[in-house]
């Protein structure tokens, strides 16, 4: 698919927010979906070669958003894309967050892992669900789009490791305290955070869905480069493709030691 870059805004030294116009994409996208984006703008150049996976951060009026953090070649190149350029990307890929009708849920986001939760929050709010957001970052730079989340969330609990905004510490601390209020947990962020969050949820028998990152070559199930290890009901370990059977998984089934 192709779309027009409507904005590509530097939020701070690490983060950018890109808005892309593409009716077709927006019509198909559901919370949890990701897409593969071609960072290299010229078909005749092969560096960077592969497309890059990004979660759908939000959709609105024929546009979708990508919140991205500068890592390497691909994201740096994306940050250079000028407004009104045409950009190429796949259709919405992967599975989606499931909505099981819970009345009150917690969303737990760390760093750029906050991205897919915004779209999810919009969606859950529409279903009449009450949402508390636990949002952790290393520094104040990692705390973004609070105003957007305010539209959908009852409480927003922010933590930073340096304590410059929100509570000082990590996000699982306040979550632990309030955990019993929730019917379901949705989480996305660094693996350590997801593992810790899952532990709290499982201990309290609360269903949890997490969205995982893996390096991807194809994004469509062909290369087998993006495996996630799940324990099935018989205790056997199964290999799942993050790009097809994921990126959203039942947290309680993930074999964290293999990730």
């Amino acid at each position: 698919m192709k779309g027009k870059v409507v904005s590509n805004t530097k939020l701070n030294d690490k983060y950018y927010l890109m808005e892309i116009e593409c009716e077709e994409f927006v019509n198909k996208a559901k919370p949890g979906h990701f897409m593969m984006v071609k960072a290299q703008q010229y078909d005749y150049l092969y560096d960077p070669l592969l497309r890059r996976p990004f979660g759908v951060c939000d959709i609105e009026r024929g546009r979708f958003k990508i919140l991205y953090v500068l890592i390497g070649k691909g994201t740096n190149l994306l940050s250079q894309i000028k407004i009104n350029s045409t950009i190429e990307f796949s259709e919405p890929l992967g599975n989606t967050f499931k909505y099981n009708g819970g009345k009150k849920v917690a969303m737990v986001g760390g760093g750029v892992g906050i991205a897919p939760l915004l779209f999810l929050a919009r969606y859950l709010k529409n279903q009449g669900t009450e949402i508390d957001l636990y949002y952790g970052g290393k520094t104040e730079d990692d705390i973004l789009m609070i105003d957007e989340f305010k539209k959908y969330c009852s409480h927003i609990i922010v933590t930073t490791e340096n304590g410059k905004v929100g509570q000082k510490g990590i996000v699982t601390e306040p979550l632990q305290k309030n955990i019993l209020q929730y019917d379901k947990i949705y989480a996305c962020g660094p693996k350590k955070m997801l593992e810790a969050t899952t532990k709290i949820a499982v201990e309290n028998k609360i269903p949890i869905e997490v969205s995982l990152d893996e390096r991807m070559a194809c994004g469509m199930g062909a290369c087998l480069g993006c495996l996630i290890y799940l324990k099935n009901d018989n205790g056997e370990i199964e290999q799942k493709r993050c790009c097809v059977e994921g990126p959203v998984f039942d947290g309680s089934k993930i074999v964290w030691s293999n990730q």
């Binding site: 071609k38 078909d43 092969y46 560096d47 960077p48 070669l49 592969l50 497309r51 190429e88 796949s90 259709e91 893996e214 390096r215 991807m216 070559a217 194809c218 994004g219 469509m220 199930g221 062909a222 290369c223 087998l224 480069g225 993006c226 495996l227 290890y229 290999q239 097809v244 293999n258 990730q259």
Partner: protein, 305 residues
């Protein structure tokens, strides 16, 4: 001129065009069916099949490099039985040739898989003696001329119905020797190249980017090595050569033809753009028409020295 300039006959099999998706980069064909029209492809070489289901290497298995990528999937596959039962019936619904890439850990395993596939509704068999990412078998067969001869000879002897393609490893001093061995042992065609053995290290974590330590390098970065090897093979063997390695567009296809290829496989490019193989077919059609070429194989080996 009713015959399409792109149609080719490979070991008795009629391909509507010479664009085949390369093993390991197109799953079992089914994965891409949601995104592109599989019926337009000349053929599909499926992910390497073995006797038993194989879970492959540990994660991480892939990493991008400069104009290329490393992979160490480790030949994860569903096993020949499941392939035949679950994957093949779906695949056969498409109007495209099915090449089954396969491998074993011993000569016996190669023979056994080949025998099973020989009686199935597939078009060709492609023997992978060149995967750098498994400990036993794989590349060991492809880097020792005697082992190449033996495994090809025994496999060819065991099958009756399907043409046998032997896929060669580029990780050798002299690819010509391996081409000759494969031909003498009865191979009906050669495909070249598989991936180059490579490695990349994350300087922050000090760990290799690939858990298997080394992986196979593919993509545009390796095209010059692939072109050279196809050229060397063309001067050495009489059986057809399927060119593989870094093809990204129709010009690359023509380059492989000039070097000596009779068909080509598209690998890593499928990841970059799932529609790329179809685009290459369209572009080749235009090129043939523009240049008024009767058949694309007119280019085979026509590099002017």
């Amino acid at each position: 001129m009713s015959k399409s300039p792109l149609s080719i006959n490979l070991c008795g099999i009629e391909f509507k065009n010479p664009i085949i998706t390369a093993s390991g980069t197109f799953g079992y064909g089914i994965e891409y069916s949601r995104f592109i029209d599989i019926n337009k492809l000349g053929g599909i070489s499926v992910k390497g099949i073995s006797l038993k289901e194989t879970s492959g290497n540990k994660m991480p298995r892939i990493m991008e490099t400069n104009a290329g990528m490393l992979n160490a999937i480790g030949l994860q596959n569903v096993g020949v039985e499941k392939f035949i039962k679950e994957k093949l019936p779906i695949l056969k619904k498409y109007d495209t040739k099915i090449i089954v890439n396969f491998w074993g850990k011993s000569v016996e395993e190669y023979v056994e898989v080949a025998k099973i596939l020989d009686n199935e509704n597939v078009d060709m068999l492609e023997m992978n003696i060149s995967c750098p990412n498994i400990k036993e078998g794989g590349i060991a067969f492809g880097t020792d001329p005697k082992m190449t001869y033996t495994v090809v000879y025994e496999t060819k002897k065991a099958i009756k119905n399907k043409p046998l393609i032997v896929k060669l490893s580029p990780n050798v001093t002299d690819i010509k020797i391996f081409g000759k061995m494969a031909q003498e042992a009865g191979a009906d065609a050669i495909s070249a190249i598989n991936t180059l053995l490579g490695m990349a290290i994350n300087i922050e974590t000090k760990k290799p980017y690939i858990s298997n330590i080394t992986g196979g390098l593919s993509g545009p970065a390796i095209k010059p090595v692939a072109i050279r090897m196809v050229y060397e093979l063309f001067k050495t063997v009489d059986i057809p050569i399927i060119g593989i390695g870094g093809i990204m567009n129709y010009k690359d296809v023509i380059e492989f033809y000039l070097a000596g290829a009779k068909a080509v496989q598209i690998g890593t490019a499928n990841f970059v753009n799932p529609e790329i193989s179809l685009k290459i077919i369209d572009d080749l059609e235009k090129y043939m028409a523009d240049k008024n070429i009767e058949n694309i194989t007119d280019f085979t080996g026509k590099v002017e020295i």
